[in-house]
């Protein structure tokens, strides 16, 4: 069965969507990603959708859902490389993906992840609760 590969890069997971998303594939990705976050104890998820040029409300909601699920599992989500047409479509559909961080490309997305995780860790260390990360 067709799957979208999830790559591990240190404490981050990298998902590159390079095929047309259909609903079953999206559900499978949700399933796989949450499992992997829990298993690898990842702190961040980077989803590259630069090759995605068609979205519908379902895919839009799925992106928001993935971000929500990741947050529950204590991982930040950054969506990068959205095409202009896709952005316009999502806005017209009324899905502005609140709570999803975005960046222009993978490089900036990575930087954003590092910054936000650094902040979260520092805040956690200041409060003095929870095990301190190696960062």
């Amino acid at each position: 069965m067709e799957r979208i590969p999830i790559l591990r890069m240190g404490k981050y997971l990298l998902v590159t969507i390079q095929v047309d998303m259909h609903d079953r594939l999206a559900m499978q990705l949700q399933e796989d990603l949450t499992t992997r976050i829990a298993k690898e104890q990842s702190r961040g998820v980077l989803i590259d959708i630069s090759a995605l040029d068609i979205v519908d409300s379902f895919i839009g909601r799925m992106l928001a859902d993935i971000a929500g699920m990741s947050r529950v599992l204590d991982a930040q989500t950054v969506v990068v490389g959205m095409q202009p047409a896709v952005a316009i479509t999502l806005v017209e559909l009324g899905l502005s993906l609140h709570g999803v961080r975005t960046a222009l490309d993978v490089e900036r997305g990575m930087k954003l992840l590092e910054e936000s995780i650094g902040e979260a860790t520092r805040a956690g260390a200041d409060e003095g609760d929870g095990p301190g990360d190696e960062r």
Binding site: P84, I88, L97, T102, A103, L104, D105
Partner: protein, 297 residues
């Protein structure tokens, strides 16, 4: 029955022409085209009218004999439309010919014949007059459409202010069509330049109501989805008051009073700074001294 119109026009071409031109000048009052051009148009009109009347059925302009006349009138009417004549002044070009023509008909023909010919001539001239007005209208409409297009393109420039900073100075009222164009050009430029910050300057937007605010927020949401931050600048005091009175929520958007403030913030966000030349030199000198000291040590 062939009309005698063409015959009469041929015979009295010069007198008709001079009378007509005098009539035209009298009727128009103001002068927007040259006398020579006017005379040339008039004599061409007479020639075409004579040709049309000698061959064609007077009641219908569909005949091939009138094609020259149609073309001539199209040109005349178009040039007048562009020169700034009013529609009635343009139609006057044809209608003012009636008086010289009819008086000539009355002089040359018997009363019964003159009445017949007058009727024929009126039919033709009325249709020609209508044709002039129609062309005039079309010319103006083309002009308006072109101007609208120009305005749409001109009013939505996306300029690159600095590395990674775009600015979008909006001018004129924001409606749905323009928002669409603005959004598309902005997002396209964000991709092309890889800019992380875009400044929407609304100094030139006369009023901001709930609809305009919604359009702005939509554009900002789309840019955010692509990973670019937006700053709204150029909010005039009155507009700030309107926004609050209307209860528009701009809470999630950074707003600045002037483009300069927004630019400073954008530079700060992209990790850049602008300093005076003197200051830069001093800093360099200090660096150099520190280096020297280190080397000496």
């Amino acid at each position: 029955m062939p009309t005698r119109l063409s015959e009469i026009i041929r015979k009295h071409q010069q007198t008709l022409l001079s009378e007509w031109i005098a009539e035209l000048k009298n009727a128009l009052g103001r002068k927007l085209i040259k006398d020579a051009e006017l005379e040339q148009q008039c004599s061409a009109f007479l020639k075409a009218l004579e040709q049309g009347a000698s061959h064609g059925e007077a009641a219908s302009l569909d005949n091939a004999a009138w094609s020259e006349m149609k073309e001539l009138l199209n040109n005349v009417s178009r040039s007048r439309g562009l020169a700034g004549y009013s529609p009635s002044e343009t139609a006057m070009f044809v209608f003012s010919f009636k008086r010289p023509l009819f008086s000539r008909l009355r002089k040359d023909l018997s009363a019964a014949e003159a009445a017949d010919e007058q009727w024929n001539a009126t039919l033709v001239l009325d249709q020609l007059g209508l044709l002039t007005t129609e062309t005039y209208q079309r010319t103006r409409e083309e002009l308006i459409t072109r101007q609208q297009q120009d305005m749409l393109e001109l009013s939505t420039p996306v300029v690159k202010l600095w590395d990674g900073v775009l600015a979008l100075p909006m001018i004129g009222t924001l409606d749905s069509a323009r928002t669409q164009v603005v959004m598309e050009t902005l997002l396209q430029r964000i991709v092309e330049t890889g800019s992380a910050v875009a400044i929407l300057d609304i100094t030139g937007v006369p009023t901001v109501d709930t609809l305009v605010a919604q359009h702005l927020l939509k554009t900002i949401a789309a840019a955010r989805l692509m990973g670019a931050d937006c700053i709204i600048s150029g909010i005039r005091p009155q507009i700030a008051q309107t926004i609050v009175h209307l209860g528009v929520d701009l809470g999630t958007v950074t707003t600045k009073a002037s483009l300069a403030d927004a630019f400073a913030l954008a530079l700060q966000r992209t990790g850049q700074t602008v300093i005076r030349v003197g200051q830069a030199r001093k800093m360099k000198e200090k660096d150099g001294e520190a280096k020297d000291r280190k080397e000496r040590e």
